[in-house]
Amino acid sequence: MSNDYTKPSIVKVGNPLYAKHGSSAQSYHFVRDAIEGVKISDLVAQYGSPLFVFSERSLRLKYQQAFKAMQRYYPNLVFGWSYKTNYLNGICQVFHQEGAIAEVVSQFEYEKARSLGIPGNQIIFNGPHKPEGILRRALLEGAQVHADHFYEIEDAEKIAKENGSPITIGIRINLDSGIYPLWSRFGFNLESGQAWAAIRRIAESPHLRFGGVHCHIGTFIMDPTAYSRAIQKLSKLIREAESLVGYNIEYIDLGGGFPSMSQLKGVYQPPEVAISSVEDYAESIGKELQWLASRKPAPKLCFELGRHLVDEAGYLITQVVADKALPDGRRAYVLDAGVNLLYTSTWYKYKIELDRDVPGMMEPSILNGPLCMNIDVVDEAILLPRLPRFQNLILSPVGAYNVTQSMQFIEYRPNIVMIGENKSISLLRRKEGLEDLNRLEG
């Protein structure tokens, strides 16, 4: 077949679907032929498509950058790797090697961290659902537990009483830091006095000791000063709590919420403009925490970064399965990966790259997934040259939440690999097969 043949393509000038992109002449498609030096075509040949690919170098770099930025302001610093963001063993292990402890939000995640060899006292246990069995195990193994509601304080008290020695527990706090929406469903509300009541409840129990406060203000927080405002409020509460209990807190945990370089739908500017650097977040936070940083010893400062550390390390390679012209003038592609693997496509517009330069004019296009479901749309408006069947596309960043939230629905879940710092490829999780799914049905 001649190389200069591309399938016929015609676009009516002034198609209203161009409005968001300008005309076809204005766009340039992006080309990426390798990830960390490994050819896309080689990856697909060896592991098939779709394929999640992680970069170990990126994981470590992001971790080190964030830790270093925060360390400038605070001496006693701990990062807890947010398991729910991506709990593939291979990913968790990289962060644990870098020095992260585990941050878990369920029995499953707690058990996963323990099975990876993380001792209980290196685990932060959050979340609104901690059944008594796992709560008991966590408390007795010395985990840093943050009560989300009054029942959990009662449960902890009961466990301590049975055990015959006092148990340390902290509380999750929600507050108005000026960002929207307010995550008031988690933990105890500060402004209403709920948080104070929880602290009193702990302080007045002979079986409990107040460990500290946890506050995760939200996700993809684009304004670093929201953290300053949160810390101002927390600082006041901490001072009052310390004078109530008569001793210094052990820790303050600020959760996560730092954004990644991802394009949130509805934000005009690209992430390189819209997203502040981790150093800006560190500065906003560090300045407000000077009063604790100067204590000897300073209480532990915990972070539970997830998305910020892992998102940019993750890519999804997917192939064109088919295409057709839609009556509205768009070119519709079917890819072999869709919302079954890309849960976050609801909120984020991924960067889409081709693994080679494809010639030809750009057409307004829509990328659909393989599911036999009308909602399976990966990108509803993108300009692309006419792509041939089996063309590889690389979507990024997809490292956060997409693996943990990918569904076994209609399709099997694909292989996941990591490219090591020495460019070696390791299989983090193999592709699912029928036997995997049938096993649970007995």
Binding site: V13, H21, G22, S23, S24, A25, Q26, S27, Y28, F30, I179, Y180, P181, M222, D223, T225, G266, V267, Y268, Q269, P270, P271, E272, V273, M361
Partner: protein, 348 residues
């Protein structure tokens, strides 16, 4: 002396005009030998077709696709045409240009733009602090990320009537919640969130266009009062004025921020003095008014870029009158076709 090849964006001289065509006219009227290149984001931009201003005109990818797209386009233009100087005139592209001015310089494309830090100082969330430092008023302003949040702000902290503004473009005075939601939806659909909710001040709006050298020293400025405007506040007739307090504010602004390059100060004079409503980090669309009264700021900008300095020009006549009008001309469809198929008017 060889002609300087200067790229100018914002050549959408429509009823909501960008400054590009006015910058080009100013340069054509200057004594500097130039070859102007239009940088357009829409094949329909009138500037694309104005032969006597632009030697050629190129289509650019939208800035929301990121720097990779812009620099690819600029390099392609440079290889086809040559490009010595860039005068970006659109708010949406400025953050990227400012962030990457070193890379532009490495490619042989000169600019005079504020640094990232200077640019950040005039961002909406820091403007209140800057206003305090340069001793002027600043209307209460809040950044909102959703319609719900906007309604909350209008109910609690900034009562109606208020001004709803896009982060880059458009501002509407609204007197009730329904209109606020309508206008916010309109702006967000085009430019996304966040939006700004600003206290509506009562007074006289006056504006100042200025240019600062790389030491933060003002080399030229002209103040005006807009008379007739479009529904978006775009000037149709205006008059030159001089306001001592505004001139001093302008000097303090440049000194405190160390500003470099063009800027516009949008101010409101109330019974309590001057309030700074907005700082635009570029020439405004009415830049030709200054040229017309003898202060050719685009020419001075090019001098600052090429020589590092230019003579100060703070003198102009008061009571000069600006009249904007619309006109039309006839050209050929093949230019439109060239832009669409080859990304430039001349079909290179």
């Amino acid at each position: 002396m060889n002609s300087l090849r200067i790229g100018i964006s914002g050549i959408n001289a429509t009823d909501n005009p960008g400054p590009g065509v006015a910058v080009a006219r100013s340069l054509i009227e200057s004594n500097i030998p130039t070859e102007l290149i239009g940088l357009s984001y829409d094949v329909h931009d009138p500037g694309n077709y104005i032969f006597n201003l632009f030697k050629n005109s190129y289509l650019m990818p939208y800035p929301n696709r990121g720097w990779q797209g812009l620099i690819t386009a600029l390099k392609s233009i440079q290889s086809k045409n040559g490009l010595d100087i860039l005068i970006p005139c659109l708010d949406a592209e400025l953050p990227l240009m400012i962030k990457n001015q070193q890379e532009l310089r490495n490619e042989g494309i000169q600019t005079l733009l504020p640094t990232e830090d200077q640019f950040e100082l005039r961002s909406k969330d820091r403007l209140a602090a800057l206003a305090r430092e340069i001793q002027c008023g600043y209307p209460k302003t809040e950044v909102v990320y959703s319609l719900d949040q906007m309604i909350q702000v209008l109910k609690e902290s900034i009562p109606l009537p208020a001004v709803i503004k896009g982060k880059y473009y458009k501002a509407y005075v609204v007197y009730n919640l329904d209109t606020a939601v309508l206008k916010a939806t309109e702006i967000a659909a085009e430019w996304g969130f966040p939006l700004l909710v600003q206290e509506k001040l009562t007074g006289q709006e006056i504006n100042l266009i200025g240019l600062a050298d790389d030491q933060g020293s003002v080399v030229g400025r002209v103040s005006i009062k807009k008379q007739l405007t479009t529904h978006l506040g775009k000037v149709w007739t205006a008059v030159t004025i001089r306001n001592e307090e505004l001139d001093q504010l302008c000097d303090r602004f440049c000194k405190v921020t160390g500003w470099r390059g063009p800027f516009e100060l949008e101010c409101m004079v109330t019974s309590e003095g001057i309030h700074l409503i907005e700082i635009n980090p570029r020439f405004p669309a009415w830049v030709y008014f200054a040229t017309g009264v003898g202060v050719n700021l685009p020419q001075m900008l090019v001098q600052l870029i090429t020589k590092g300095n230019c003579p100060k020009n703070l003198d102009y006549s008061l009571g000069k009158y600006l009249v904007r009008y619309s006109t039309e001309f006839v050209t050929d469809l093949n230019l439109f076709q060239n832009l669409l198929s080859l990304r430039n008017r001349e079909g290179l």
